[in-house]
């Protein structure tokens, strides 16, 4: 990977970052009346993209079709765009932009890309099934003390820990 800026700043104190994230989540509850979310916006973008290619088919599908002709007209899409913008600001400000594929020093590139892609497919699918991802279900839902969200959170970590050893090679240093 190629660092865009010299001397990137160290990461923040994770607890301080967590407080900041928690307050953002609280603001979302009090202003929007809903928690944070990322996969929701992503799904809408997916509907839009598939709609560009196969508009009649998408309109006829039960899941994407229910979102109508303008799936992007949805608050979570704007939130996801905001995440990108905020991430960009912060990365520039902290000089933490590095272009490339992040992996272990001896981790094979193709392996990393394969895992990134297939992991993405699994995550994308599972997030739709659960109606949320780590932000929407695990974090926001658990903050609301929703039993289902807490169960989801626990299972995410269970699934992760169970398969971590199998995919360790990409991070080898």
């Amino acid at each position: 990977m190629k660092l865009l800026f010299k001397e990137p700043k160290p990461f923040s104190n994770p607890y301080i970052a967590g407080i900041f994230l928690g307050l953002t989540l609280l603001a979302s509850f009090l202003i929007l009346g809903a928690g944070l979310g990322a996969s929701g916006g992503l799904a809408r973008i997916s509907a839009f993209l598939e709609g560009l290619m196969f508009p009649a088919h998408v309109a006829a599908t039960e899941y994407f079709g229910a979102w109508g002709k303008n799936p992007l007209n949805y608050y979570l899409v704007f939130m996801l765009i905001g995440v990108f913008i905020g991430g960009l600001f912060s990365a520039i400000f902290s000089r933490r932009i590095s272009i490339g594929v992040e992996r272990g020093n001896t981790g094979p590139l193709h392996l990393r890309l394969f895992f990134a892609a297939s992991g993405g497919v699994l995550s994308g699918f599972a997030a739709r099934l659960a109606g949320g991802c780590t932000s929407g279900q695990a974090l926001s839902g658990s903050a609301l003390l929703l039993s289902g969200s807490i169960v989801f959170l626990v299972c995410v970590f269970a699934g992760g820990f169970a398969t971590a050893w199998l995919v360790r090679r990409q991070w080898n240093d």
Binding site: F84, E102, L145, V156
Partner: protein, 685 residues
């Protein structure tokens, strides 16, 4: 009170989209600052190499959880209506969670962090996002096949009218504040554990650092303070459910210390109540999660019940409630609150947390939600009046909202007053008209107005405190009306024959006593009815017994001998003796002494009646107005009417008060029977 975009149903508005963008920006900044623009850092937790995910997520969770608790406690936000909650599908979430976890550790990303990763230049984030798009599309394509697992294992709980909405405190059956404190303590333990692990790996660690110590302390103290706040404070209003109000199903019986405390806390804070207005609104708006249960006997229920209520006898309640744990609120009511309270407490101990009682019972519901607008003081705002009228129409049915909007059928009919035979004939089949026939039973049995009841005025009288032929107290009169299936909203028509107008008016005195002013005497009585060829029959009327509510304080016209004596002594009131002249003067007597009350004037009741064709009725009102104007100085002059037992006087009372407009008419029920018998009272001849 905060109104969120979700609560105002305006998440699609431009303002909401803009707010989401801004919130997203702060979301992105938080993630990036935490270093979550790096998949290596993110995946680190699964190898105990970098515990950042645990620290950041858990901190955020605890901060948001406690912040929201404080906002709810401070009354800033109503959790029932202003926040979007996802339904709990245990099967779906377990399955999806595991798959997502695999995807997470595999890729080192989740959608939110990947957005930050993309912004940080990470190509693996771009590849992840592309994969996630494919995954989403895949979901859409096979959606019809996998629909069953999308809503798999829905929780049996419900909250805020949303089935399947399960909160952790309900699912575990422990109070919310215990859950909050517990999660905080677990979080702090995890933080110390994470720091310990990282210190062990030689990384920079906060283990035993002043920062971590202070941070932990602040979290625990805040959770501790929230722990001390009573549970009820986390309900937005009295009738909103405390989140401790549900349990999945029946718990085996046996004393449950946690429940007793919780139960009594609920009782003390009235969290076990639902206010009448709250219930009326919920039923009017057809809230599917609300079920109202009438626990009175079936006949009372049939006479009148709150619209939408089902009738369940108390012993059947446990079985009934256990089959309906999906209901958000099951509200019990009877006339008062005692039986519902007892039932509810027992059900609570058995583990049912969705049962409540109606504050003030049916009596209170009728008084607070259904009493006519014109009878309320202070007067209601226009909006409140509309609400009451809407509820009256809803709960009483279309033809009972009469007093605020005059019933067009009876327009122009002054009640109490006289009703024309034609008008009665036109409305004979209305269920809210009850005809009482005071003729002799043989006459009634031969034929009577269809649907009418045979009732002698003597049935409304008896010996009270030693004085014979006295009008019965309100409770007894109401009980008699209940046996005839009469309700306060009914228009009662009183039918006499011959010159026995006084029989009808004596029954009317009973109606006046219980405040039933919706009555009218049939003009001309039964004789006019038959002379006009109107329908008669001899079938007995169909009756569904009612529960006529006794009102108190409605008899402002009955006076005792004590009051009459005072009137005699200070000459402040006109005493009108309606007995025949011979009895007034003492020439004839059928009582202990002969004569009249000192200062009284005499006008015999029968002089007010006249024969008109085939029937006998009042003389023309113009004529009577002039006659009485000579006897009584003004319409406001206090007048006490009496006779021997109150029977004849009832006719004059009716005439003066309801037909001629005198405003201060009183009735000395005990009459000459008592006055003559009490030798200490003065008598004139």
């Amino acid at each position: 009170m905060i109104s969120t975009f979700f609560g105002a149903d305006s998440l699609g508005s431009l303002a909401a989209l803009a707010a989401s963008l801004v919130i997203g920006i702060f979301f992105g900044i938080s993630l990036e600052k935490a270093g979550f623009g790096s998949s290596k850092r993110l995946a680190g937790i699964f190898y105990f190499r970098d515990m950042a995910v645990l620290k950041v997520m858990f901190t955020a969770l605890v901060v948001a959880m406690m912040g929201l608790s404080i906002a709810i406690w401070a009354g800033l936000i109503d959790p029932a209506t202003q926040i979007y909650y996802m339904t709990t599908y245990y099967g779906t979430y377990i399955f999806a969670g595991l798959i997502f976890g695999v995807g997470f550790v595999m890729s080192g990303w989740c959608p939110g962090t990947a957005a930050v990763g993309m912004a940080s230049g990470k190509m693996d984030a771009v590849v992840f996002m592309a994969g996630a798009v494919i995954g989403s599309i895949l979901f859409n394509e096979i959606y019809p096949l996998i629909k069953p697992i999308v809503t798999w294992g829905q929780s049996g709980l419900a909250a805020y009218g949303q089935p399947g909405l399960a909160f952790l405190n309900e699912s575990l059956g422990i109070p919310r504040r215990v859950v909050v404190l517990g999660i905080t303590l677990i979080a702090v333990a995890c933080f110390w554990g994470s720091e310990f692990i990282e210190a062990g790996k030689g990384m920079k660690s906060y283990f035993k650092s002043p920062f971590l110590a202070r941070f932990s302390l602040v979290l625990i103290l805040t959770a501790g303070i929230l722990f001390l706040i009573p549970e009820k404070k986390f309900s937005a209003s009295e009738s909103r459910l405390s989140t401790a109000a549900f349990a999945p199903s029946v718990v085996p019986s046996g004393p449950d210390p946690v429940s007793d405390r919780a139960l009594l806390t609920d009782v003390a804070s009235a969290a076990d109540h639902v206010a009448p207005e709250e219930l009326a609104a919920a039923l009017y708006n057809r809230d599917p999660g609300v079920l109202v249960v009438d626990i009175r006997p079936l006949d009372e229920y049939n006479a009148f019940h709150i619209r939408g209520a089902v009738q369940v006898n108390m012993p059947d309640l446990p079985a009934f409630v256990s089959a309906r744990t999906d209901k958000t609120r099951i509200v019990l009511y009877s006339n008062g609150m005692v039986h519902p309270s007892q039932s509810r407490d027992q059900l609570y101990r058995s583990g049912f947390r969705n049962v409540f009682i109606l504050t003030d019972g049916l009596d209170g519901f009728i008084d607070r939600c259904l009493k006519p607008v014109s009878l309320r003081s202070p007067p209601l705002s226009a909006e409140a009046a509309r609400q009451i009228n809407a509820w009256r129409v809803f709960f009483y049915g279309h033809d009972q909202a009469a007093s605020a909007a005059p019933d067009s059928v009876f327009q122009g009919l002054k009640l109490p007053g006289m009703i024309d035979t034609g008008r009665l004939a036109d409305n004979l089949t209305r269920p809210d008209i009850k005809i009482i026939d005071s003729r002799s039973q043989p006459d009634y049995n031969t034929r009577h107005i269809p649907g009418s009841f045979s009732l002698s005025p003597e049935h409304f009288r008896g010996n009270v405190d030693g004085v014979p032929s006295m009008l019965m107290p309100a409770e007894i009169l109401a009980a008699k009306l209940s046996l005839m299936g009469i309700q306060p909203k009914d228009l009662i028509v009183l039918v006499y024959d011959g010159d026995k107008m006084r029989d009808a008016t004596l029954i009317a005195m009973g109606l006046e006593r219980i405040g039933h002013t919706r009555y009218a005497v049939l003009d001309g009585g039964f004789d006019k009815w038959t002379a006009e060829g109107k329908p008669t029959g001899n079938a007995l009327p169909q009756v569904q017994r009612s529960a006529y509510l006794v009102k108190h304080g409605t008899d402002m016209f009955s006076v005792s001998y004590v009051k009459v004596l005072a009137d005699v002594q200070n000459k402040s009131t006109l005493i009108l003796d309606v007995r025949p002249e011979d009895y007034f003067t003492g020439k004839k007597s059928d009582e202990a002494r002969a004569g009249h009350i000192p200062g009284a004037i005499n006008r015999v009741f029968s002089a007010d009646l006249a024969k008109i064709d085939a029937f006998i009725g009042f003389k023309p009102l113009k004529e009577l107005t002039d006659i009485y104007a000579k006897l009584i100085p003004s319409l406001d002059t206090p007048v006490v009417v009496h006779c021997r037992t109150g029977h004849q006087a009832s006719q004059t009372f009716f005439l003066l008060k309801h037909l001629l407009g005198y405003r201060n008419v009183f009735w000395y029920d005990a009459g000459w029977t008592e006055w003559a018998a009490r030798t200490e009272l003065p008598v004139d001849k």
